[in-house]
Symmetry: C2
């Protein structure tokens, strides 16, 4: 009997447009951690152009500013999340928390006796 | 504040290959209801070729026969699900049951006070 695995994806739309998803939120987190859209894009495996495009889509869709450029300072500038950006990351992570367990539970119920 | 909507997708993989998903299961149900792969493909909005391709993928991935041709009879033949095919449809529907409520609940918790 082949081994089956449950898979899922979660995202948030606004007016039919994706504004938050697992990978978009990973991109935002990577910006916060690296201080750079370029490094963040590389970490999540997309081009700089695509990362910018998606950030723009998210900001326009949500009607908020998610990232801001920092000029100068000890680290010589860079990009970081705004307070709103950090808030949306936290909200999405709250949204998806515990889902994997729910999915595993449903899967076991439906396919466990196969 | 723009209106956000939670969205999700669920599927089952085997060896990295999708074997069951919402639309694939809708295709199987449509075959059962219409007695025809052609009519079923049209109902779920894919070409006959793609429907066949996906059926083949699912059967190979799961290592079972999901559909069978019926020859003759009052309705002049056609295609229907095997008992195994009906079983997988039922299992997948059990798997996804209640998910929308879970997602709505998580979404309200995470974004409801926005």
């Amino acid at each position: 009997m082949p081994t089956l695995k449950p898979r899922s994806n979660l995202w948030i739309e606004c007016g039919g447009q994706v504004v938050l998803s697992k990978w978009r939120v990973r991109l935002l987190e990577a910006i916060q951690e690296t201080g750079s859209i370029n490094a963040a894009a590389e970490r999540v495996g997309v081009s700089y152009h695509r990362a910018w495009e998606k950030l723009d889509e998210m900001e326009k869709g949500l009607g908020v500013q998610l990232v801001e450029r920092q000029v100068g300072g000890a680290r010589g500038g860079g990009t970081r999340l705004t307070a709103t950006g950090r808030e949306y990351v936290a909200r999405f992570k709250r949204f998806e928390r515990g889902f994997d367990d729910v999915i595993t539970g449903h899967f076991e119920q439906a396919f466990g006796d196969r």
